[in-house]
């Protein structure tokens, strides 16, 4: 399995305030990595740095083997066609319909015929549960959950190898979040996706992640499979995972492991 993302000795500073100090992180192909940390620990900032939206004070961020803060224009464009990002609030283009939002990345390639673009966009919308009737609505006329699903369809439009998710299930009702999790899971299996996500939702976290990276004390204090990470004696980890909510979510994880054991 090759390394998709490699972060080396990354420093982030806002004025005098140091957010990340000598942070190291690695994501391998096919993993679903969750970034976990208290609020203000710089999860979203790290995500934005991985995407090249913000420049770290020091250090290197390599995605697909390329340093994204030093890559030239052409290779940066190529890189941006290989990943997809789901923003926390969707970030749909409010001037375009849901369908056009999803079709936009495909049209941007300028070579695909319009009927194929339309069919492919409708398929992507269908995959996230948006009917053709809703596809013609403007984002302002969609509910919060629908905006998020359209945004996921847009992130998946160009069949990315790498998918970034910022709080994918925040603001969704439990039923929707479950179907969201199932969708990402099946896409992951089928499209050999690598996923990096930031989430506070422990249910989503345990249901999806194959690996968890814990951000605390300005760096990644632990990476590993969910059961490995929970076992660590660090106070933040204990507090985060083994509170009341954490325990409930963990039961789900145990059930899942039992199932896979039976499967063997």
């Amino acid at each position: 399995m090759s390394t998709i993302i490699r972060v080396r000795n990354l420093w982030t500073q806002f004025g005098q305030f140091v957010v990340h100090q000598d942070l190291n992180l690695e994501v391998r192909q096919g993993e679903i990595l969750s970034l976990v940390g208290g609020s203000g620990s710089g999860k979203t900032t790290l995500l934005r740095q991985l995407l090249g939206l913000e420049k770290p004070a020091r250090g290197q961020v390599e995605v697909f083997g390329e340093d994204i803060h030093r890559a030239d224009g052409a290779s940066q464009r190529r890189l941006r066609n290989r990943w997809g990002m789901l923003f926390q609030h969707g970030a749909l283009f409010s001037a375009l319909t849901a369908l056009d939002n999803v079709a936009q990345p495909m049209r941007e390639l300028r070579t695909l015929p319009e009927d194929l673009v339309r069919d492919a966009a409708l398929l992507k919308l269908g995959m996230v549960g948006i009917t053709p009737k809703d596809a013609l609505k403007m984002p302002s006329n969609l509910s919060g959950g629908m905006v998020k699903r359209v945004a996921l369809a847009r992130a998946l439009a160009l069949e990315p190898e790498l998918l970034f998710l910022d709080e994918p299930t925040a603001g969704l009702d439990p039923d929707l979040s479950d179907s969201f999790v199932a969708l990402i899971k099946s896409l992951h299996q089928q499209m050999r996706l690598t996923v990096v996500m930031v989430t506070h939702d422990l249910d989503t976290l345990f249901a999806l992640s194959t690996k968890i990276a814990v951000l605390a004390e300005k760096r990644v204090i632990a990476t590993g499979s969910p059961s490995e990470v929970i076992g660590l004696p660090h106070p933040f980890i204990q507090q985060f995972f083994l509170g009341e909510r954490g325990r409930r979510a963990l039961e789900v994880l145990h059930d899942k492991e039992m199932e896979s054991d039976h499967g063997k």
Binding site: L99, M106, L123, L158, E159
Partner: protein, 359 residues
């Protein structure tokens, strides 16, 4: 006939220039009667867009004879499951022009009604403010005066000075041919104090602060701050609109005085260069050339224009819908309407005060 596909059928491979055209030519030639044998087992990588390309070539059904690698089965199953992906047809529109005209009429009456309501609300808020001045939004008023008045001093001075220079040169040349050099003071004084000073300041403030007010309120709508205020029991009229109207009504006359002064200095400088009229002569003649009522008219125009700009800007700002397009449109409309309203008000002033302030 057998069609065999191999290699990578992913979107980035397909999107290479020219590739899709040759592929669709081949796919389009295949008969759709089921006699063709499709061998896709050689495909290394396939994604939904590549699969959709096949699916469309098959006439949106699965061909009878199809060889497919097991790992690609899922992609086609998904497309098959999605079924007929047809957009709902738009309902045919008759009476389109009538409908548009009706819509335009309704929008216009909506604006007019909204503006009247805004003015009424402002009157009520002013009443509340007058009854309990201590509980008024003093901080908002003073910060708005700072932003709208003080920070506009530099730009109004620059534009006023240059207009003064231009006007002075233009009139000096014409007056010189008639030998009426000394009347330059009358022309400059009257036109700047009565007309150009207030108008220039108003147009600059409309462009500068009118757009800012509209955009500010619009973004507050987008971020739901306006709703948050209502929920907490803070009325938009009292906390947002009245302070801005008052601030502009106070700042504009001051800006008018400032613009007048700088424009006259510009005209004076140009007159000194072009006609040799000394500044001291200019200043000595000015009170006689421009009677006092003109200054009052100028100040009055400042107050009215300021209040108008603020009201128009608030009106459009509050009507912005939470999306980016509406924000852009609303800001543009606000500035255009504010400037138009100012010029209409100026015309009204010209008619009403036709007999006042002339020698």
């Amino acid at each position: 006939m057998t069609i065999a596909a191999a290699g990578s059928w992913q979107v980035h491979a397909l999107a290479q220039p020219g590739r899709l055209k040759s592929l669709s030519a081949v796919l389009g030639r295949a008969p759709r009667d089921g006699s063709t044998e499709w061998d896709l087992s050689g495909i290394a990588e396939l994604d939904h867009i590549g699969a959709q390309l096949f699916w469309n070539a098959w006439g949106k059904t699965r061909p009878r004879r199809l060889a497919l690698a097991p790992e690609h089965e899922e992609v086609f199953r998904r497309i098959e499951q999605a079924g007929e992906l047809a957009l709902p047809a738009e309902d045919p529109r008759r009476w389109r022009i009538a409908e548009q005209a009706n819509q335009a009429l309704r929008t216009l009456s909506g604006h007019l009604l909204g503006f009247v309501v805004l003015i009424g609300q402002l009157a009520l808020d002013l009443g509340t403010f007058a009854l309990r001045p201590l509980r008024g939004p003093w901080k908002e008023i003073s910060s708005n005066i700072y932003h709208i008045g003080y920070q506009a001093l530099a730009i109004t001075a620059l534009v006023g000075f240059l207009i003064g220079v231009v006007l002075s040169y233009l009139s000096a040349q014409q007056l010189h041919t008639f030998g009426g050099d000394i009347y330059l003071v009358n022309i400059l004084g009257m036109s700047i104090v009565r007309e150009l000073g207030p108008l220039l300041a108003a147009i600059l403030v409309a462009g500068r602060s009118g757009s800012a007010i509209t955009a500010q309120l619009g973004v507050m709508r987008v971020t739901e701050e306006l709703d948050a205020m209502l929920v907490m029991g803070m009325s938009h009229g009292f906390r947002l609109i009245m302070p801005r109207v008052l601030a502009l009504a106070i700042a504009m006359p001051l800006l008018v005085v400032w613009t007048d002064a700088v424009a006259l200095i510009g005209g004076m400088a140009a007159a000194n260069l072009e006609l040799g009229l000394s500044p001291s002569y200019f200043l000595r003649e000015l009170p006689a050339a421009v009677p006092l009522p003109n200054y009052w008219i100028g100040l009055g125009k400042g107050v009215v224009f300021g209040a108008l700009i603020a009201l128009v800007a608030c009106h459009f700002g509050l009507r912005i819908k939470p999306n980016t397009e509406s924000l852009g449109q609303g800001t543009t409309l606000s500035v255009v309407t504010a400037i138009t309203a100012v010029i209409i008000a100026d015309a009204v002033f010209a008619i009403v005060f036709a007999g006042v302030g002339f020698l």
